[in-house]
């Protein structure tokens, strides 16, 4: 199972590159701000959200290729290029058939899909936009990354609600293990569009209260949550890669086993003993808080000790692809030998990490209300 991470890339509300992202986490900064959303029918609302900063593709992606990309694809492609740059990989030197892309997304290219539907609703079904149609498929981000880098190996996109990244990660680790590829670009991306915000508001899932502009509190959530978006990518390589690793995956799994059964299956006694920190996908929804609390208590029972459990969604927001951002945060903590104190409604919760040493192994436990769960263990390289 062991595979190493040699580079990370991220475009988020906290920063549009790994250095800014790390700085934001280290400094306890919130990516939340008031943003304007124009709903269908022209209603405008100003609501708190963690919208990703513009992805700066300068020097990374050929402007001609960039023109074909919508906002979400840009976030993903720029993250991929950043991750390769951090890994010290010149894409042209990779064996294209032994390099692949494994991506996750819950909603895919929502803005482009909406633009496509609008094109035929406004102009008639015979006048739909072909460009928007071809860019609306869920796999578009993975395809555009492959096109940008000229890589011809495995190209997969997985969609499993808010565990889409974790699904992509587990699959990528399997692919490396089977020897089908040497290097994989693994990530996830989702965008928050006015349409999604509108729908979220209608089902009382997103917070419209401007007073929450400091961000969500995953540890004492108010209902509803503060949504966000972004993309993050890791370069995953076989453990025998010569490149310098940032961190190492020891184990990962996904399934529909209850509470901690998945973690129990995943964690050998050796792994259980070295885990010093856990992260979860706790978000800002009060409805899910009790579920997470029960799960976290069960995790302590499994490990036989009370483990510090963090989530940095208070920094970078709640989105279906936030698992990818958390993974990058975990890699940065391990590689930098530091712990990022999480943010809760704009307040740095240093109390949660008081006395916690630099982690050597992090367990990430992610649960979904759909009944699917995922977990992985990352260690210092």
């Amino acid at each position: 199972m062991a595979a190493i991470i040699t580079g990370v890339g991220v475009v988020s509300s906290l920063g549009a590159d790994p250095v800014s992202f790390a700085k934001g986490l280290r400094g306890g900064r919130s990516g939340c701000a008031l943003h304007d959303f124009e709903y269908l029918g022209g209603r405008k609302v100003s609501a708190p959200a963690y919208l990703a900063m513009p992805a700066d593709a300068k020097g990374l992606i050929d402007p001609k290729k960039l023109r074909r990309m919508d906002r979400l694809s840009r976030m993903c492609a720029v993250s991929a290029r950043q991750a390769l740059a951090m890994a010290g990989i010149d894409a042209s030197t990779l064996n294209p058939a032994r390099t692949g892309v494994v991506f996750g997304t819950a909603f895919g290219a929502m803005a482009t899909t909406q633009a496509f539907v609008d094109s035929w609703l406004k102009q008639g079904e015979r006048h739909a936009s072909p460009l928007n149609f071809m860019n609306s498929v869920h796999g578009i981000m993975a395809s555009l990354i492959a096109l940008d880098l000229g890589i011809t190996g495995v190209n997969l996109t997985l969609s499993q609600r808010d565990l889409s990244f974790e699904g992509a990660l587990v699959t990528a680790l399997e692919i490396l293990e089977s020897g089908e590829a040497d290097t994989l670009i693994v990530g996830a991306g989702d965008e928050l569009t006015p349409l999604l915000h509108d729908f979220g508001a209608r089902v009382h899932y997103v917070n419209l209260d401007a007073a929450n502009a400091r961000g969500l509190d995953p540890f004492a959530p108010t209902d509803p949550t503060v949504p966000g978006d972004g993309a993050a990518v890791i370069v995953l390589e076989r453990a025998d890669s010569k490149r310098k690793p940032l961190a190492k995956f020891e184990a990962a799994a996904m399934g529909r086993l209850g509470k901690t059964d998945l973690a129990a299956k995943l964690l050998s006694s050796d792994l259980r003993s070295i885990i010093s920190l856990a992260t979860t996908n706790r978000g800002g929804s009060k409805r899910a808080a009790a579920h997470f609390a029960r799960r976290e208590n069960a995790l302590d029972g499994l490990l036989g000790r009370e483990l510090v459990k963090l989530t940095h969604r208070g920094n970078f927001g709640d989105s279906p692809s936030a698992g990818a951002l958390q993974c990058v945060a975990n890699v940065l903590m391990l590689s930098g030998g530091e712990v990022f104190a999480p943010l809760a409604a704009g307040e740095i919760r240093r109390d949660l990490v008081a006395g916690v040493a630099a982690p050597t192994a992090i367990l990430h436990d992610a649960a979904s209300v759909s009944g699917t769960h995922a977990a992985y263990v990352l260690t210092q390289a």
């Binding site: 035929w120 587990v170 699959t171």
Partner: protein, 417 residues
């Protein structure tokens, strides 16, 4: 996968030709296309293009075989979910797997449009309200809740109490084949003994309008590999296989319908919609599937082509097939005129077709062919053809983004008749 093939013990299918393998066989043998006029929703294009629409009552079909999902829950499902559930019910029933054996299993499904047939209806209502200055309402918002691909996967997992690895793969028209290939990988690695795998997609305005916008839809339906082919027909359906480790299947005395013996994939990295002009990605995926199955090109007795009937696809696929197998060296057919292009379900439906071909030692015909294309000489199957020595077949699935997936199916054992 050569040393550890995976057993196929159940098949399920819903398509334009019906909702059973029996209906499939009848259509294939009679050369009876399932293409018809679109009635599922109103469209300006309905009178212009046929579609591969399933005409049965999916809610009733599924309600008659449901196990755990309640009637209220069924009402909330999308058409894609129902297609998948109906096909799964057939496959699970055929496998004869008991609940206890199913519980640790997982489900991998390929999707492309997911619950779009309902979410787009809701969006269109919102759009019209906005245009007319009417107030937006929450009525019908449940239609949006079924948009996500994971909905089908989760519904199947709930219906059968599955606890294993479950996810949706979305690689456009190769999704179903990739889902089957990845699910088989889990079994051969010992991560699961049983997996439910396949693909599902329903007709929707998005796909019909989209493929029409790309000028890929033919008014006279698909004529795969014909010199005068004009394009594809959009379809819908679901294909589902029950996959098991050979040990697991043999220990419980299951009837093994065929083996999944190889899986290959590649990415063209050439263009978002157009295939590589020489079929480089298709060639690479077929070759890697053969390597995975530890087979030589000469071992393959039939190629179930992607064969969408678009000028580019058929030409480049023919070039790739000829390059790998030799011109006219292997029988080839595309079944697109039977079902239409069921997108993410296509590879899974073709998987059912391939297993059926192996079981019956009969190759399905390339319906709609008049004059074969000239770019490459293929041995196109013009009518159902007996293939007594058929042991191994491959099935090609290619999708947007140059995403290629190829599966190899084999007869379990014993000498060919």
């Amino acid at each position: 996968m050569g040393s550890t093939p995976v057993a196929i013990t159940g098949l399920g299918l819903v398509s334009a030709v019906g909702a059973s393998v029996t209906a499939l066989r009848a259509a294939l043998d009679r050369g009876q296309s399932g293409l018809r006029r679109l009635t599922l929703f109103e469209s300006e294009l309905a009178s212009e293009f046929p579609v591969g629409q399933y005409d049965g009552d999916l809610v009733a079909d599924f309600a008659s075989v449901r196990r755990k999902l309640g009637a209220r829950e069924i009402k909330r499902l999308s058409r894609s979910d129902l297609l998948a559930l109906c096909a799964t019910a057939q496959a699970v029933n055929q496998s004869g797997l008991a609940d206890a054996a199913l519980s640790p299993a997982g489900v991998y499904l390929g999707h492309s449009v997911c619950g779009t047939n309902r979410s787009e209806a809701y969006y269109i209502d919102c759009f019209r309200r906005a245009q007319d200055g009417r107030e937006q309402t929450r009525a019908g918002i449940a239609n949006l809740m079924v948009h996500e691909a994971a909905q089908s996967v989760d519904a199947i997992a709930r219906e059968y109490g599955l606890c294993g690895p479950s996810t949706s793969l979305m690689t456009a028209c190769s999704s179903g084949a990739n889902a089957i290939g990845r699910a088989a990988w889990l079994i051969r690695q010992g991560r699961a003994d049983v997996m439910i795998a396949g693909g599902t997609d329903s007709l929707s305005r998005i796909t019909l309008n989209g493929f029409n916008a790309l000028q890929l839809v033919a008014s006279d339906g698909p004529r795969p590999f014909d010199a005068e082919r004009k394009g594809m027909t959009v379809g819908e359906g679901a294909g589902v296989l029950v996959l098991e480790s050979l040990d697991h299947a043999r220990k419980r005395g299951a009837k093994i319908l065929a083996l999944l013996s190889g899986y290959g994939h590649s990415c063209d990295a050439h263009h978002l919609t157009a295939p590589h002009p020489q079929g480089a990605g298709a060639f690479a995926a077929m070759k890697s599937a053969l390597i995975d199955a530890a087979l030589q090109p000469g071992d393959i007795g039939y190629v179930s082509a992607h064969g969408t009937s678009t000028p580019d696809n058929d030409k480049t696929e023919a070039l790739a097939v000829s390059r790998l197998f030799g011109e006219g060296a292997v029988p080839v057919s595309s079944t697109m005129r039977f079902f239409g292009h069921a997108l993410a379900a296509s590879g899974a439906i073709k998987a059912v077709v391939c297993v059926d071909a192996i079981q019956r030692r009969t190759l399905p015909q390339n319906l709609g062919l008049r004059t074969p294309l000239t770019e490459s000489r293929l041995d196109l199957v013009r009518e159902p053809r007996a293939a007594a020595n058929l042991r191994h077949v491959i099935s090609n699935s290619f999708g947007f983004g140059g995403n290629n997936a190829v599966l190899v199916f084999s007869r379990e054992s014993g000498p060919a008749a």
